[in-house]
Amino acid sequence: MMPRTALPLIAAALLAAPAYADEAKLARGKYLVTIAGCNDCHTPWKMGAQGPEPDMSRMLSGHPQDFALPPAPKPEGPWTVSAAVTNTAWAGPWGVSFTANLTPDRETGLGKWTQRNFTETIRTGRHMGRGRPILPPMPIPMYKHFTDADLEAIFTYLQSIPVVKNRVPEPLPPAK
Protein backbone atom coordinates (compact mmCIF):
# COMPACT_ATOMS: atom_id res chain seq x y z
CA MET A 1 0.00 0.00 0.00
CA MET A 2 1.45 3.32 -1.05
CA PRO A 3 1.45 5.99 1.65
CA ARG A 4 -0.94 8.81 0.81
CA THR A 5 1.80 11.36 1.22
CA ALA A 6 3.67 9.88 -1.73
CA LEU A 7 0.91 10.61 -4.23
CA PRO A 8 1.41 14.39 -4.45
CA LEU A 9 5.14 13.85 -4.81
CA ILE A 10 4.67 11.42 -7.70
CA ALA A 11 2.16 13.76 -9.37
CA ALA A 12 4.55 16.67 -8.99
CA ALA A 13 7.39 14.61 -10.43
CA LEU A 14 5.28 13.59 -13.42
CA LEU A 15 4.23 17.16 -14.06
CA ALA A 16 7.78 18.38 -13.79
CA ALA A 17 9.18 15.71 -16.10
CA PRO A 18 8.61 17.62 -19.36
CA ALA A 19 10.27 20.69 -17.87
CA TYR A 20 13.32 18.65 -16.92
CA ALA A 21 13.36 17.12 -20.40
CA ASP A 22 13.23 20.58 -21.97
CA GLU A 23 16.02 21.78 -19.73
CA ALA A 24 18.11 18.75 -20.59
CA LYS A 25 17.51 19.36 -24.30
CA LEU A 26 18.43 23.03 -23.94
CA ALA A 27 21.61 22.15 -22.07
CA ARG A 28 22.50 19.55 -24.67
CA GLY A 29 21.83 22.06 -27.45
CA LYS A 30 23.99 24.71 -25.80
CA TYR A 31 26.77 22.16 -25.36
CA LEU A 32 26.59 21.07 -29.01
CA VAL A 33 26.49 24.65 -30.32
CA THR A 34 29.52 25.44 -28.17
CA ILE A 35 31.72 22.51 -29.10
CA ALA A 36 30.64 22.41 -32.77
CA GLY A 37 32.17 25.85 -33.15
CA CYS A 38 29.02 27.70 -34.25
CA ASN A 39 30.26 30.89 -32.56
CA ASP A 40 33.48 30.75 -34.54
CA CYS A 41 31.69 32.06 -37.62
CA HIS A 42 28.15 33.01 -36.64
CA THR A 43 29.18 35.39 -33.85
CA PRO A 44 31.10 38.47 -35.08
CA TRP A 45 34.61 38.66 -33.67
CA LYS A 46 36.12 41.82 -32.21
CA MET A 47 39.55 42.77 -30.93
CA GLY A 48 39.70 42.31 -27.14
CA ALA A 49 42.42 42.95 -24.59
CA GLN A 50 43.80 39.47 -25.17
CA GLY A 51 43.36 39.52 -28.95
CA PRO A 52 40.45 38.52 -31.19
CA GLU A 53 37.38 37.18 -29.39
CA PRO A 54 33.72 36.56 -30.23
CA ASP A 55 31.48 39.54 -29.44
CA MET A 56 28.95 37.73 -27.28
CA SER A 57 26.70 40.78 -27.16
CA ARG A 58 25.91 39.82 -30.78
CA MET A 59 25.94 36.11 -30.15
CA LEU A 60 25.15 33.99 -33.24
CA SER A 61 23.65 36.94 -35.10
CA GLY A 62 25.75 36.39 -38.24
CA HIS A 63 27.56 38.88 -40.43
CA PRO A 64 26.71 42.42 -39.24
CA GLN A 65 24.41 44.13 -41.75
CA ASP A 66 26.17 47.48 -41.38
CA PHE A 67 29.66 46.11 -41.97
CA ALA A 68 30.20 46.84 -45.67
CA LEU A 69 33.16 45.16 -47.28
CA PRO A 70 35.27 46.01 -50.32
CA PRO A 71 35.42 43.40 -53.12
CA ALA A 72 37.03 40.17 -51.96
CA PRO A 73 40.54 39.21 -53.09
CA LYS A 74 40.66 36.90 -56.11
CA PRO A 75 40.89 33.25 -55.05
CA GLU A 76 44.23 32.64 -56.76
CA GLY A 77 47.27 30.58 -55.92
CA PRO A 78 47.55 28.29 -52.96
CA TRP A 79 45.75 30.86 -50.72
CA THR A 80 42.28 30.45 -52.15
CA VAL A 81 40.12 31.35 -49.18
CA SER A 82 39.99 34.62 -47.25
CA ALA A 83 37.95 35.80 -44.28
CA ALA A 84 36.88 39.22 -43.03
CA VAL A 85 38.14 40.42 -39.66
CA THR A 86 34.81 39.52 -38.03
CA ASN A 87 35.15 35.93 -39.27
CA THR A 88 31.59 36.31 -40.60
CA ALA A 89 32.34 36.85 -44.31
CA TRP A 90 34.28 34.34 -46.37
CA ALA A 91 35.49 34.51 -49.94
CA GLY A 92 36.67 31.68 -52.14
CA PRO A 93 36.01 29.93 -55.45
CA TRP A 94 32.27 29.80 -54.59
CA GLY A 95 32.03 33.60 -54.31
CA VAL A 96 31.40 35.37 -51.00
CA SER A 97 29.34 33.90 -48.18
CA PHE A 98 28.06 35.69 -45.10
CA THR A 99 27.22 33.72 -41.99
CA ALA A 100 23.55 33.52 -41.10
CA ASN A 101 21.69 35.08 -38.21
CA LEU A 102 20.81 32.09 -36.03
CA THR A 103 18.92 34.06 -33.39
CA PRO A 104 15.12 33.70 -33.22
CA ASP A 105 14.35 37.07 -34.83
CA ARG A 106 11.28 36.46 -37.02
CA GLU A 107 12.34 38.67 -39.92
CA THR A 108 16.11 38.30 -40.05
CA GLY A 109 16.87 35.11 -38.14
CA LEU A 110 15.38 31.66 -37.57
CA GLY A 111 12.23 32.90 -35.81
CA LYS A 112 9.84 31.55 -38.45
CA TRP A 113 11.73 28.33 -39.00
CA THR A 114 10.42 24.96 -37.93
CA GLN A 115 12.45 22.09 -36.62
CA ARG A 116 11.94 20.39 -39.99
CA ASN A 117 13.33 23.42 -41.85
CA PHE A 118 16.43 23.38 -39.66
CA THR A 119 16.99 19.63 -39.83
CA GLU A 120 16.52 19.55 -43.60
CA THR A 121 18.93 22.46 -44.05
CA ILE A 122 21.69 20.56 -42.28
CA ARG A 123 20.85 17.24 -43.92
CA THR A 124 20.56 18.51 -47.51
CA GLY A 125 22.93 21.47 -47.50
CA ARG A 126 20.15 23.63 -48.95
CA HIS A 127 18.53 26.67 -47.34
CA MET A 128 15.44 25.36 -45.51
CA GLY A 129 16.10 22.04 -47.24
CA ARG A 130 14.87 23.39 -50.57
CA GLY A 131 16.56 26.67 -51.53
CA ARG A 132 20.06 27.82 -52.42
CA PRO A 133 23.10 25.77 -51.40
CA ILE A 134 24.60 26.40 -47.99
CA LEU A 135 28.09 27.63 -48.81
CA PRO A 136 31.57 27.12 -47.35
CA PRO A 137 32.90 27.32 -44.74
CA MET A 138 29.74 25.82 -43.21
CA PRO A 139 30.83 22.22 -42.57
CA ILE A 140 27.69 20.59 -43.98
CA PRO A 141 29.57 17.45 -45.08
CA MET A 142 30.32 16.79 -41.40
CA TYR A 143 27.28 18.32 -39.72
CA LYS A 144 24.82 16.33 -41.83
CA HIS A 145 25.82 13.39 -39.67
CA PHE A 146 24.33 14.94 -36.54
CA THR A 147 21.57 12.72 -35.18
CA ASP A 148 17.96 13.91 -35.27
CA ALA A 149 18.10 14.25 -31.47
CA ASP A 150 21.22 16.43 -31.72
CA LEU A 151 19.60 18.67 -34.31
CA GLU A 152 16.48 18.96 -32.18
CA ALA A 153 18.58 19.97 -29.19
CA ILE A 154 20.55 22.51 -31.24
CA PHE A 155 17.43 24.07 -32.74
CA THR A 156 15.69 24.17 -29.37
CA TYR A 157 18.65 26.03 -27.91
CA LEU A 158 18.92 28.43 -30.86
CA GLN A 159 15.26 29.32 -30.46
CA SER A 160 15.95 30.26 -26.81
CA ILE A 161 18.85 32.68 -27.26
CA PRO A 162 18.45 36.48 -27.28
CA VAL A 163 16.95 37.95 -30.43
CA VAL A 164 19.25 40.12 -32.52
CA LYS A 165 17.73 41.95 -35.48
CA ASN A 166 20.40 41.77 -38.15
CA ARG A 167 19.68 41.29 -41.86
CA VAL A 168 22.66 39.41 -43.23
CA PRO A 169 23.55 40.18 -46.89
CA GLU A 170 22.86 37.56 -49.54
CA PRO A 171 25.79 35.53 -50.89
CA LEU A 172 27.63 36.79 -53.94
CA PRO A 173 28.50 34.60 -56.92
CA PRO A 174 32.14 34.21 -58.06
CA ALA A 175 33.49 37.25 -59.92
CA LYS A 176 33.47 36.72 -63.70
Binding site: G95, K112, W113, T114, R116, N117, E120, T124, G125, R126, H127, M128, G129, R130, G131, R132, P133, L135, E170, P171, L172, P173
Partner: protein, 311 residues
Protein backbone atom coordinates in the same frame (compact mmCIF):
# COMPACT_ATOMS: atom_id res chain seq x y z
CA UNK B 1 19.85 -27.96 -30.76
CA UNK B 2 16.48 -28.49 -32.39
CA UNK B 3 15.36 -25.07 -31.18
CA UNK B 4 18.44 -23.51 -32.73
CA UNK B 5 17.80 -25.23 -36.08
CA UNK B 6 14.18 -24.04 -36.02
CA UNK B 7 15.27 -20.51 -35.24
CA UNK B 8 17.75 -20.54 -38.11
CA UNK B 9 15.05 -21.81 -40.48
CA UNK B 10 12.67 -19.06 -39.42
CA UNK B 11 15.38 -16.44 -39.89
CA UNK B 12 16.20 -17.82 -43.36
CA UNK B 13 12.52 -17.67 -44.34
CA UNK B 14 12.23 -14.11 -43.09
CA UNK B 15 15.34 -13.13 -45.05
CA UNK B 16 13.99 -14.75 -48.21
CA UNK B 17 10.64 -12.99 -47.78
CA UNK B 18 12.43 -9.68 -47.33
CA UNK B 19 14.65 -10.29 -50.35
CA UNK B 20 11.64 -11.13 -52.50
CA UNK B 21 9.99 -7.84 -51.56
CA UNK B 22 13.11 -5.73 -51.95
CA UNK B 23 12.82 -3.18 -54.72
CA UNK B 24 15.26 -3.81 -57.55
CA UNK B 25 17.59 -0.93 -58.39
CA UNK B 26 16.61 1.35 -61.27
CA UNK B 27 17.57 0.05 -64.72
CA UNK B 28 20.88 1.26 -66.10
CA UNK B 29 19.31 2.17 -69.45
CA UNK B 30 16.16 4.13 -70.23
CA UNK B 31 15.26 1.44 -72.78
CA UNK B 32 14.59 -0.90 -69.87
CA UNK B 33 12.14 1.35 -68.03
CA UNK B 34 9.17 0.63 -70.29
CA UNK B 35 8.99 3.97 -72.09
CA UNK B 36 9.77 2.75 -75.61
CA UNK B 37 8.81 -0.17 -77.79
CA UNK B 38 11.37 -2.97 -77.65
CA UNK B 39 14.36 -2.20 -79.83
CA UNK B 40 13.39 1.46 -80.30
CA UNK B 41 14.57 4.63 -78.63
CA UNK B 42 11.91 6.80 -80.22
CA UNK B 43 8.64 4.85 -80.49
CA UNK B 44 6.75 5.34 -77.24
CA UNK B 45 4.63 2.40 -76.11
CA UNK B 46 0.92 3.06 -76.63
CA UNK B 47 0.06 2.39 -72.98
CA UNK B 48 2.18 5.40 -71.95
CA UNK B 49 -0.11 8.41 -71.96
CA UNK B 50 1.38 11.63 -73.33
CA UNK B 51 0.31 14.69 -71.34
CA UNK B 52 1.11 18.37 -70.97
CA UNK B 53 0.27 20.57 -67.97
CA UNK B 54 -1.43 23.83 -68.85
CA UNK B 55 1.06 25.82 -66.74
CA UNK B 56 4.67 24.84 -67.36
CA UNK B 57 7.78 24.88 -65.22
CA UNK B 58 10.46 27.06 -66.81
CA UNK B 59 13.53 24.93 -67.58
CA UNK B 60 15.87 27.31 -69.40
CA UNK B 61 13.70 27.09 -72.50
CA UNK B 62 14.12 23.32 -72.89
CA UNK B 63 11.53 21.55 -75.04
CA UNK B 64 9.78 18.96 -72.91
CA UNK B 65 7.66 15.87 -73.47
CA UNK B 66 5.93 13.83 -70.76
CA UNK B 67 4.28 10.43 -70.41
CA UNK B 68 2.46 8.59 -67.65
CA UNK B 69 2.14 4.85 -67.16
CA UNK B 70 -0.33 3.13 -64.84
CA UNK B 71 -0.17 -0.64 -64.23
CA UNK B 72 -2.90 -2.70 -65.94
CA UNK B 73 -6.20 -2.37 -64.11
CA UNK B 74 -4.88 0.30 -61.74
CA UNK B 75 -6.27 3.81 -61.56
CA UNK B 76 -5.70 7.15 -59.89
CA UNK B 77 -7.91 8.00 -56.93
CA UNK B 78 -8.95 11.61 -57.54
CA UNK B 79 -11.26 11.98 -54.55
CA UNK B 80 -8.94 14.67 -53.19
CA UNK B 81 -8.75 16.95 -56.23
CA UNK B 82 -5.45 18.54 -55.24
CA UNK B 83 -3.73 15.39 -53.98
CA UNK B 84 -4.35 12.60 -56.43
CA UNK B 85 -3.38 9.18 -55.13
CA UNK B 86 -1.31 7.29 -57.69
CA UNK B 87 -1.13 3.48 -57.52
CA UNK B 88 2.16 1.67 -56.90
CA UNK B 89 3.78 0.98 -60.24
CA UNK B 90 2.97 4.44 -61.60
CA UNK B 91 5.77 5.85 -63.78
CA UNK B 92 6.11 9.34 -65.19
CA UNK B 93 8.81 10.32 -67.66
CA UNK B 94 9.85 13.81 -68.68
CA UNK B 95 12.18 14.34 -71.62
CA UNK B 96 14.29 17.51 -71.90
CA UNK B 97 15.73 18.71 -75.20
CA UNK B 98 18.15 21.56 -75.83
CA UNK B 99 18.72 21.28 -79.55
CA UNK B 100 18.79 17.51 -79.05
CA UNK B 101 17.47 15.12 -76.44
CA UNK B 102 19.63 15.60 -73.34
CA UNK B 103 17.87 14.00 -70.41
CA UNK B 104 14.83 11.92 -69.51
CA UNK B 105 13.73 11.92 -65.87
CA UNK B 106 11.67 9.13 -64.36
CA UNK B 107 9.53 9.30 -61.23
CA UNK B 108 8.25 5.94 -60.11
CA UNK B 109 5.95 4.87 -57.32
CA UNK B 110 7.40 1.75 -55.72
CA UNK B 111 5.44 -1.18 -54.26
CA UNK B 112 5.81 0.22 -50.73
CA UNK B 113 4.32 3.56 -51.80
CA UNK B 114 7.63 5.46 -51.78
CA UNK B 115 8.60 7.55 -54.79
CA UNK B 116 11.89 7.08 -56.62
CA UNK B 117 13.54 9.78 -58.74
CA UNK B 118 16.16 9.01 -61.37
CA UNK B 119 17.52 10.68 -64.48
CA UNK B 120 18.86 9.21 -67.74
CA UNK B 121 21.39 11.06 -69.89
CA UNK B 122 21.20 10.79 -73.66
CA UNK B 123 24.34 10.32 -75.75
CA UNK B 124 25.10 13.00 -78.34
CA UNK B 125 23.75 10.76 -81.12
CA UNK B 126 20.42 10.42 -79.32
CA UNK B 127 20.50 6.63 -79.54
CA UNK B 128 20.81 5.67 -75.88
CA UNK B 129 20.18 7.16 -72.44
CA UNK B 130 22.12 5.90 -69.42
CA UNK B 131 21.30 6.23 -65.71
CA UNK B 132 22.87 9.41 -64.30
CA UNK B 133 24.97 9.26 -61.14
CA UNK B 134 23.10 9.96 -57.90
CA UNK B 135 25.13 13.16 -57.46
CA UNK B 136 23.99 14.42 -60.86
CA UNK B 137 26.24 16.10 -63.43
CA UNK B 138 27.07 19.74 -62.77
CA UNK B 139 28.07 20.78 -66.29
CA UNK B 140 27.34 18.38 -69.11
CA UNK B 141 28.65 19.80 -72.42
CA UNK B 142 25.58 20.35 -74.64
CA UNK B 143 25.99 22.72 -77.57
CA UNK B 144 22.34 23.82 -77.60
CA UNK B 145 22.11 24.53 -73.85
CA UNK B 146 22.68 27.98 -72.33
CA UNK B 147 26.43 28.68 -72.31
CA UNK B 148 26.93 25.17 -73.72
CA UNK B 149 26.43 23.51 -70.35
CA UNK B 150 23.51 21.49 -68.99
CA UNK B 151 22.97 20.41 -65.39
CA UNK B 152 21.61 16.96 -64.59
CA UNK B 153 20.03 17.22 -61.13
CA UNK B 154 21.17 15.08 -58.23
CA UNK B 155 18.59 12.91 -56.46
CA UNK B 156 18.72 15.39 -53.62
CA UNK B 157 17.91 18.20 -56.10
CA UNK B 158 14.86 16.20 -57.23
CA UNK B 159 13.61 15.93 -53.67
CA UNK B 160 14.15 19.64 -52.98
CA UNK B 161 11.26 20.50 -55.29
CA UNK B 162 9.16 17.35 -55.51
CA UNK B 163 8.95 16.73 -51.78
CA UNK B 164 7.67 20.23 -51.08
CA UNK B 165 4.26 19.36 -52.45
CA UNK B 166 1.74 16.95 -50.98
CA UNK B 167 2.03 14.68 -54.04
CA UNK B 168 5.52 14.51 -55.55
CA UNK B 169 4.25 13.91 -59.09
CA UNK B 170 3.92 17.54 -60.09
CA UNK B 171 2.10 18.57 -63.25
CA UNK B 172 -0.35 15.66 -63.37
CA UNK B 173 -3.22 17.11 -61.37
CA UNK B 174 -6.81 18.27 -61.70
CA UNK B 175 -5.81 21.89 -62.23
CA UNK B 176 -2.95 21.20 -64.62
CA UNK B 177 -4.98 18.75 -66.73
CA UNK B 178 -8.31 20.57 -66.50
CA UNK B 179 -8.95 20.11 -70.22
CA UNK B 180 -8.20 16.39 -70.07
CA UNK B 181 -10.33 15.40 -67.09
CA UNK B 182 -13.28 14.15 -69.09
CA UNK B 183 -11.10 11.95 -71.28
CA UNK B 184 -9.16 10.60 -68.28
CA UNK B 185 -12.34 9.82 -66.33
CA UNK B 186 -13.92 8.15 -69.37
CA UNK B 187 -10.86 5.92 -69.77
CA UNK B 188 -11.43 4.51 -66.30
CA UNK B 189 -7.90 5.44 -65.21
CA UNK B 190 -9.17 8.28 -63.03
CA UNK B 191 -11.83 7.50 -60.46
CA UNK B 192 -13.66 9.36 -57.71
CA UNK B 193 -13.16 12.74 -59.33
CA UNK B 194 -15.86 15.00 -57.84
CA UNK B 195 -18.68 15.35 -60.36
CA UNK B 196 -18.58 19.13 -59.99
CA UNK B 197 -15.08 19.19 -61.51
CA UNK B 198 -16.23 17.11 -64.45
CA UNK B 199 -19.19 19.37 -65.04
CA UNK B 200 -17.08 22.48 -64.70
CA UNK B 201 -13.31 21.90 -65.09
CA UNK B 202 -11.20 23.68 -62.49
CA UNK B 203 -9.92 27.11 -63.34
CA UNK B 204 -7.70 29.56 -61.48
CA UNK B 205 -9.79 32.33 -59.96
CA UNK B 206 -8.68 35.58 -61.60
CA UNK B 207 -10.32 38.68 -63.06
CA UNK B 208 -8.50 38.46 -66.40
CA UNK B 209 -6.60 36.01 -68.60
CA UNK B 210 -3.29 37.73 -67.89
CA UNK B 211 -3.89 37.56 -64.15
CA UNK B 212 -4.78 33.87 -64.53
CA UNK B 213 -1.59 33.28 -66.51
CA UNK B 214 0.47 35.03 -63.82
CA UNK B 215 -1.11 32.99 -61.04
CA UNK B 216 -0.62 29.84 -63.14
CA UNK B 217 3.04 30.68 -63.63
CA UNK B 218 3.57 31.13 -59.89
CA UNK B 219 1.68 27.89 -59.28
CA UNK B 220 3.84 25.84 -61.64
CA UNK B 221 7.18 27.44 -60.79
CA UNK B 222 6.89 28.29 -57.09
CA UNK B 223 3.82 26.57 -55.63
CA UNK B 224 5.36 23.13 -55.13
CA UNK B 225 7.56 24.57 -52.35
CA UNK B 226 5.75 27.79 -51.48
CA UNK B 227 2.32 26.56 -50.43
CA UNK B 228 0.31 26.89 -47.26
CA UNK B 229 0.58 23.25 -46.11
CA UNK B 230 4.12 22.14 -46.98
CA UNK B 231 7.40 22.43 -45.10
CA UNK B 232 7.84 26.10 -46.04
CA UNK B 233 4.34 27.14 -44.93
CA UNK B 234 5.79 29.14 -42.05
CA UNK B 235 7.41 31.57 -44.47
CA UNK B 236 3.92 32.83 -45.31
CA UNK B 237 4.26 32.48 -49.08
CA UNK B 238 1.39 30.53 -50.68
CA UNK B 239 1.63 30.34 -54.46
CA UNK B 240 -0.13 27.01 -55.13
CA UNK B 241 -3.57 27.19 -56.71
CA UNK B 242 -6.16 24.59 -55.83
CA UNK B 243 -8.77 22.95 -58.02
CA UNK B 244 -10.99 22.38 -55.00
CA UNK B 245 -10.70 25.93 -53.67
CA UNK B 246 -9.76 28.29 -56.50
CA UNK B 247 -10.98 31.46 -54.84
CA UNK B 248 -9.37 30.78 -51.47
CA UNK B 249 -6.04 29.75 -52.98
CA UNK B 250 -5.89 32.79 -55.28
CA UNK B 251 -6.67 35.04 -52.32
CA UNK B 252 -3.88 33.40 -50.34
CA UNK B 253 -1.45 34.23 -53.14
CA UNK B 254 -2.59 37.85 -53.30
CA UNK B 255 -2.30 38.10 -49.54
CA UNK B 256 1.25 36.70 -49.68
CA UNK B 257 2.27 39.22 -52.29
CA UNK B 258 0.71 42.08 -50.35
CA UNK B 259 2.79 41.53 -47.23
CA UNK B 260 5.60 44.03 -46.82
CA UNK B 261 8.39 43.61 -49.32
CA UNK B 262 7.16 40.34 -50.83
CA UNK B 263 6.21 41.64 -54.28
CA UNK B 264 9.60 43.34 -54.52
CA UNK B 265 11.38 40.22 -53.39
CA UNK B 266 9.52 37.87 -55.73
CA UNK B 267 10.36 39.93 -58.80
CA UNK B 268 13.93 40.51 -57.65
CA UNK B 269 14.44 36.78 -57.31
CA UNK B 270 12.82 35.61 -60.53
CA UNK B 271 14.92 38.09 -62.50
CA UNK B 272 18.19 37.71 -60.59
CA UNK B 273 21.33 36.45 -62.30
CA UNK B 274 22.85 35.58 -58.91
CA UNK B 275 22.45 31.79 -58.58
CA UNK B 276 22.29 32.14 -54.78
CA UNK B 277 19.35 34.52 -54.98
CA UNK B 278 17.48 33.35 -58.07
CA UNK B 279 14.20 31.48 -57.78
CA UNK B 280 13.48 28.69 -58.42
CA UNK B 281 16.83 27.63 -56.97
CA UNK B 282 17.15 24.44 -59.03
CA UNK B 283 17.13 23.86 -62.79
CA UNK B 284 17.25 27.49 -63.88
CA UNK B 285 20.21 29.48 -65.16
CA UNK B 286 18.41 31.73 -67.68
CA UNK B 287 15.83 34.34 -66.84
CA UNK B 288 12.39 33.56 -68.29
CA UNK B 289 12.09 37.07 -69.75
CA UNK B 290 8.60 36.72 -71.20
CA UNK B 291 6.99 35.42 -68.04
CA UNK B 292 8.98 37.66 -65.71
CA UNK B 293 7.54 40.59 -67.69
CA UNK B 294 4.08 39.08 -67.26
CA UNK B 295 4.52 38.82 -63.49
CA UNK B 296 5.95 42.36 -63.24
CA UNK B 297 3.09 43.82 -65.25
CA UNK B 298 0.48 41.96 -63.21
CA UNK B 299 1.99 43.07 -59.90
CA UNK B 300 2.47 46.68 -60.98
CA UNK B 301 -0.71 47.32 -62.98
CA UNK B 302 -3.29 44.82 -61.70
CA UNK B 303 -2.31 44.45 -58.07
CA UNK B 304 -0.79 47.93 -57.80
CA UNK B 305 1.92 46.61 -55.52
CA UNK B 306 5.44 48.02 -55.38
CA UNK B 307 8.28 46.56 -57.42
CA UNK B 308 11.05 48.82 -56.16
CA UNK B 309 12.80 48.29 -52.83
CA UNK B 310 11.00 49.70 -49.83
CA UNK B 311 12.64 52.82 -48.34
Amino acid sequence: MRVLALLLRVLALLWLAGAAQATPPPPQHLDDTGLFEAGSSTAVRPENLAFAPQYELWSDGAAKRRWLYLPPGASIDASRPDAWEFPPGTKAWKEFSQGRRVETRLIERLPDGAWRFVAYVWNAEGTQAVLAPEAGIAALPVAGAPRGRYTIPSRSDCLACHEGAEVPLLGFSALQLARELERLAASGRLRNLPASLLASPPRIAAPSESARAALGYLHANCGHCHNHTGPLAATGLAFAQQAAAPQASAERTLHSLSSAGTSVDVVRRVRSSNPYVRMPPVGVSLIDAKNVALIESWIRHDLRLPLEPYP
